[in-house]
Amino acid sequence: ACGDDKGSDSGSGSGSSSAGKVGVILPDTKSSQRWGTDDPKFLKAAFEAAGVQVDIQNAQGDKTAFQTIADGMISSGVKVLMIVNLDSGTGKAVLEKAKKAGIATIDYDRLTLSGGADYYVSFDNVKVGELQGQGLVDCLTAKKYTKPVVAELNGSPTDNNATLFAQGYNSVLDPKYADGTFTKGPNQDVPDWDNAQAGTIFEQMLTSNKNIKGVLAANDGLGNAAISVLKKNKLNGQVPVTGQDATVQGLQNILAGDQCMTVYKAIKKEADAASELAIALAKGEKPTTATGTTKDPESGASVPSVLLTPVSITKESVKDVIADGFVTKDAVCTADFAKACTEAGIS
């Protein structure tokens, strides 16, 4: 058999003797591009810096694969298992199996209901929704539309976060519908956060409801799908669209004036916080950073947590995301966007 550092994602500093290995399972690459690009990058960097070996894998939306990866990590002897669940059920099964093998567990970004993970690191997801709702309200108010019709493109019905996001933005929008400032328009879930399906779903919403004046899209991918349809009907810019994740595409859409806002979740901070916990656990230390608690709504248990705050991003604040190092100026300010970048104060 080969050396321990076989996996491509394993840390370089296998020199550190005391620390055990850490396993990380990410959910997919479809719900958001972050899982394929940002999270692995930041997590890997953090673990490498600490000289802790890490094995990061992505289940690609397949819960059977999710469990198989977990089995493999457990049998290869990880000390800490960190997961972003695909759903609470499989998440729980994996967490329980890990616990039986005496492995410390962390819920990353998504809370596994009744999962009983040792720690939870995330953003306040209801807050994310609230920011999206508020962002849309601001943009629509600025446009001075009267009783604008708002369409909602929700995330995947199977993602607990999507439920939380909806809870957040509906808490902002429902009163507006109730008092007649806004008109409630069509509202649909997008299976698996699938962008192509989102395009058709939105096109049909628009066809049957021509005076849609605002779109609450649950993330940047869905937002971009809606924007493509609006562009086709030459309505882009006039109908505000929301987003989430501060992707390059989303930020560019904002700069172009096609998207109203996105929610920036400082993924690097989230990754750093999570890896800090994991590194401590891997070294057999008791972490001290998880100062907050989150109440599991299902089991009622209090999970020690690190909860970060999401930030709303509009044209003016795109530069903040760049300044934070989450995306580079080069990536966002390509030739097409040079002018918009200057206008938005990105230097």
Binding site: T29, K30, Q33, R34, W35, G36, T37, P40, Q60, P157, P186, Q188, D189, P191, D192, D194, N195, A196, Q197, G199, T200, I201, E203, Q204, M205, L206, T207, S208, K210, N211, D220, G221, N224, A225, S228, K231, K232, N233, K234, L235, Q238, T247, V248, Q249, Q252, N253, T334, A335, D336
Partner: protein
């Protein structure tokens, strides 16, 4: 009976058909169950009526135009799959192959600043190469196509992720490229193309009659030929007329009229592939290999080459499907070509009447079957069901549409045809 008996080919006594006898024969064949695409077309009409009645937008010009853009990816992929299915093979990777080719074009356009006229050919070449590799593995190594393309399904899914650097979405901003599956021809051009199509069809039909008549072979009665040409003309003219109306949501701001650009592209491929299958030796050989491989081999047909070629055509058309998908979304993501695209594409071909066992099918099947699927998706979208209900109803409608066809064909079986 006022028929004129003529003795032609091989002393086989034949009777020159009149319009009446032609219609009687056709009706006999239909009653005998030889229906062609009739049931799928019937299904299409019934579905349209249902959606037209239950929503007030289904029959709007805007929605009619949407249908073409929405169905483009599936129809292009399905056209290519018809060739693969004609051989009794399957291509499970067509969906992700379209994604990979879409990613290639998007990356070249956006990240490398290529022009559309170099980037699109590059994507098409990618499709050709993919098809060649698949076909080679099937024909020369002899791995069943299900396994080869299952492996490719996985492989391309991975390739797409790698190409997109783990999962970023890449936007395309090339105007021409984005217009392909979003914008429309001007009404003037729309009409010009419509007339060209009608005149072309009429020319082919009349030429056909003439060249057979010259040999003294039986020809279709002129009345029938005229009806065919008239039918097509009516269809195209009505369609173009509807699409030439203003359909913008807010005409004050911008105008939206004309035939979607993707329509003539579909039309051109439909004509080309129909020609290839029906009028060339290559097409004949595709049917032969699909009908009886051993007989084809004994007739000296290079079966392996035919086998490779259908995968090449399949992946080439998948590339075009991918280009259309990326154009429509003006972006590519790791799931472009994923989800239900593959099953819908195979479904389109099969619903249209192509057999999974080879030897039976036409390119028009892909278009009509694709239209059935697109109408269902489109109409369901207008109805605004929840995702669960939507899936269930979609399944049920598909089933009902298919059983029209099945029940008709059962009669065929009862009378011994096929």
């Amino acid at each position: 009976m006022s028929t004129t008996t003529t003795t032609t080919a091989g002393g086989v006594k034949v009777i020159k058909p009149t319009v009446n006898s032609y219609i009687r024969d056709y009706w006999g064949r239909v009653r005998g169950g030889d229906l062609g695409t009739l049931p799928a077309i019937l299904g299409l009409i019934v579905l349209s009526l249902i959606f037209g009645i239950s929503t007030d937008t289904f029959f709007s010009g805007l929605n009619f135009a949407n249908l073409f853009n929405q169905s483009a990816q599936v129809i292009f992929i399905a056209m290519g799959l018809v060739f693969v299915l004609l051989l009794g093979e399957i291509d499970l990777s067509a969906g992700f192959a379209s994604g990979v080719c879409g990613a290639v074009v998007a990356i070249l356009l956006t990240n490398h600043g290529w022009e559309w006229y170099t980037a699109i050919p590059a994507a098409l070449v990618t499709g050709l190469v993919i098809g060649f590799v698949l076909g080679f593995l099937v024909a020369k190594i002899g791995i069943p196509s299900f396994v080869v393309t299952l492996a490719a399904f996985l492989g391309f899914q991975g390739l797409l992720l790698v190409l997109l650097g783990g999962g970023t979405n890449i936007s395309t901003r090339d105007e021409f490229f984005n217009s392909l599956n979003n914008d429309n021809l001007s009404p003037v051009w729309s009409w010009i193309l419509t007339i060209v199509a009608i005149v072309g069809y009429a020319g082919v039909q009349l030429n056909n009659v003439r060249s057979r008549a010259k040999r003294g072979l039986v020809t279709d009665p002129m009345g029938i030929v005229a009806m065919r040409i008239g039918g097509l003309a009516a269809l195209l003219i009505i369609g173009t007329a509807i699409l030439s109306q203003e359909r913008a949501i807010n005409p004050a701001i911008n105008s939206l009229k004309g035939v979607p650009i993707v329509v003539p592209i579909m039309g051109i491929f439909l004509v080309i592939w129909t020609f290839v299958l029906g009028r060339t030796a290559y097409g004949r050989h595709v049917y032969a290999v699909g009908g009886n491989t051993e007989a084809a081999r004994r007739a000296g047909i290079k079966v392996d080459r035919i086998r490779i070629s259908v995968f090449v055509i399949g992946s080439f058309m998948a590339a075009i499907g991918g280009i259309m998908a990326v154009s429509r979304a003006s972006s590519v993501d790791p799931n472009t070509g994923g989800s239900n695209i593959l099953l819908y594409s195979v479904g389109a071909a099969v619903i249209g009447g192509t057999s999974l066992f080879g030897g039976k099918g036409k390119v028009i099947n892909a278009v009509i079957g694709g239209a059935v699927i697109a109408v269902i998706d489109n109409g369901m979208g207008l109805l605004g069901f929840s995702s669960g209900t939507k899936y269930i109803v979609t399944g049920l409608i598909l089933l009902v549409a298919a059983s029209v066809d099945a029940l008709a064909r059962r009669r065929a079986a009862a009378t011994g045809n096929r």
